[in-house]
Symmetry: C2
Subunit: 425 residues, 2 copies
């Protein structure tokens, strides 16, 4: 890939040598984790291709569209309202935060005790290896957890186009008013960036594109309720991960094509794991590309992952935006309503999330739940402690895992996961 896109990456100011190393590791990881799987659906070929071109063709396509005036907005969080970005004719992409890079440099600007996701986002910037970040016309940060909120102050010293969105911490009326005001402010900022006014028509289009993507993912999720599973948890996670990068309409088509195939598979009783494979619900922190460590360990330990209660999964995708409003104001209200339901652990209290985990465990016929938290992610770590008693009451076995992106604890994690799988099997 390097030779073909070298000029493009260079023009983005990237470090080609470092980037080549990253791509080599990423490619090897993808081969080991994904291509080694048995009995994958053919529909995953599309995702293999997307991943092989994740820093190449997709960037080229985005840059070409930018030549035609389509601005690029980068984000680190599912609270950034995609409907509004699309309404202004811009592209929304998730920014790299799933792998350790340039950690020595990172720890000169952030405390060592910062979660891997935040450190990673800084590593990609400091190491100059994220073409999404370097292509973005606007980078959106958000006041979610302390780590992100405070680290954006440091990121602001490294980039010139950071926009920070404030977010509420409760689900009170005042909190909703804050979210509304921030979404309105964001809409103005995106209009200014693109020069395109947000209208009823463009908002409806933005909502339609975004809802269609979510609906395709809902379809995929529903098919994972089948027993045996027609698709691995890793492949389904990959689809969620790719949803942050890919052109949305093409992505939607590809997921729907995959779902057509999975429906056939279910009819024909074609599965990726044997019957009675223990079914696990993953819950907790988001897993950005290429953070596949724990799912890989789970699915190579005799279990199948049937769902993700995560921002890269159902927490990020589950609610649709009501598109019935007939003016900008009511559509904006509908967007606020939709995002205000997100049960991120930054909210307090956050009982909805516990209820949702229980519901998912039932819907997906999970035999157990793995609560996954990144080290130093206090919101999800503390919720995981509280969830233990709730899951016990519900009779749902739960394993609490805290880890980061380093491979060092893989063996230890595997031992714990295997013991858990054996227990619930």
């Amino acid at each position: 890939m390097a030779s073909e896109y070298g000029g493009m990456w260079k023009s983005l100011g990237m470090d080609l040598g470092a980037h080549d190393q990253l791509l080599a590791v990423l490619g090897q990881g993808y081969t080991d984790v994904f291509l080694s799987q048995a009995n994958r659906p053919k529909g995953m070929d599309y995702f293999n291709f997307v991943m092989s071109e994740v820093h190449g063709l997709r960037i080229k396509e985005m840059l070409e569209a930018r030549e035609q005036g389509e601005k690029i907005v980068g984000s680190y969080c599912v609270f950034v309202p995609e409907e509004i970005v699309r309404a202004a004719g811009a592209t929304l992409v998730g920014l790299c935060s799933g792998a350790d890079f340039a950690m020595e440099e990172v720890e000169r600007v952030l405390p060592r005790n910062t979660c891997a996701l935040i450190k990673s986002s800084f590593g990609f910037k400091l190491g100059k290896v994220c073409p999404y970040l370097e292509s973005a016309d606007m980078i959106v940060g958000e006041n979610t957890c302390d780590g992100k909120k405070k680290s954006y102050e440091e990121l602001n010293k490294l980039v010139s186009n950071l926009y920070v969105m404030d977010l509420p911490q409760t689900k009170s009326e005042n909190a909703r008013a804050l979210l509304k005001a921030e979404f309105v402010r964001f809409a103005r900022a995106v209009e200014e960036l693109t020069g395109n006014p947000i209208t009823v028509e463009s908002l409806k289009k933005g909502i339609a594109i975004t809802n269609a993507k979510r609906q395709a993912m809902h379809r995929l999720e529903a098919l994972r309720k089948a027993d045996p599973e027609p698709i691995s948890g890793l492949d389904a996670l990959l689809a969620s991960q790719v949803s942050f990068y890919d052109a949305p309409v093409r992505f939607t088509e590809s997921v729907n094509a995959l779902c057509d195939e999975l429906e056939e598979r279910i009819k024909d009783n074609v599965a990726v794991f044997p019957e009675k494979t223990p079914r696990i619900l993953m819950s907790g922190c988001p897993m950005a590309v290429p953070n596949w460590k724990l799912p890989w360990i789970v699915e190579s330990s005799g279990a199948v992952i049937v769902g993700e209660e995560s921002c890269v999964g159902e927490r990020g995708l589950r609610n649709l935006t009501d598109d019935s409003g007939q003016d900008v104001e009511s559509l904006m209200e509908a967007i606020v309503d939709r995002y205000f339901k997100i049960d991120c652990a930054i909210f307090t209290p956050n009982e909805d999330r516990a209820d949702h985990i229980v519901q998912m465990a039932k819907d997906y016929k999970a035999d157990g739940v793995i609560q996954y938290a990144l080290n130093f992610c206090q919101p999800y770590q503390i919720e995981a402690m509280g969830l233990e008693s709730r899951m016990e009451k519900e009779g749902i076995p739960m394993l609490r895992i805290e880890t980061d992106y380093s491979p060092e604890d893989a063996e230890q994690l595997k031992t714990r996961v295997e013991a858990f799988v054996e227990m619930i099997g």
Copy 2:
């Protein structure tokens, strides 16, 4: 003390055996750290007495007042508006959070990677050793950092009288509106608790009591600008710490009496440390009683602490509330104005704090600044990283310390502090 107050503590549901142990350690610590100091002002006798009776006479007095209808409100944060509590005729006290206790039990409900202050507050509850907590009619939590915000969900399972105040994360107009709404809601809650309506007169009285306390502390702080210092940093910190517990009017008188003496000392050139002792400004996380580890290390390493940029120090005390309003609404606005200025690291951006540190370093003629953060306190840890370049630009030497309440790292800290003191001396 045990025999005299045993019945009282028992009636509060405390664990007498555990509490005796705590008091023994606390008493020994106080003797080692405070009573061993040379050349202390006589005015510190009052604070010695207060500390010797911190769980005894002060609790007795509060409980007696409660018999007469004076409710007790406990708090963990300087954002809880004392003016409003006093206006409703209630007492505001800081709750225990300065020492490790019952850590094994704490780590069953909170992640190990939680800051010492939060763990301590849980330890005092789980160990049943905080008479303030057990006396409180209302415990106020606040959505400041992730650790506190999320841990209140767990505390809510341990106590029946927790009130959680939401707080903003920025200094925007919407953020101020949120603080205002939360202070109004809190005023209603305190009125309901006490049965006393908050009126212009009672608010003015609440503001007067609280401002007088702050003004006395400002006087004390101003006297610490003298070189050589008429009072140790430890003793001045103790006054700040006691301000959270003591009856406010008596406290104000005692600080003013101490200041009278310090003025005489300055006139007579009586000091606690030799001339040219290196002067250090402490900055960062709050130090609750009996968290004296780092100041003790500093002042036994040949330096004197001249100021605290901390919630237990100038950050908590520096601004007065305007008392000129003639109705409840304008007095409430003045209270909001005053608290909205607090430059806590939970805000983003928080440039005011950096400016304040530079200003304090100049005002107090500090030779260096120690940035103190509790382990896992992301807001202050991340700000400390960012402050390094600012302090370098200002030519102010800075040392970054991360620690907790355990004595284990004391030797290592002493080595680092001594090297810093030597460098700036």
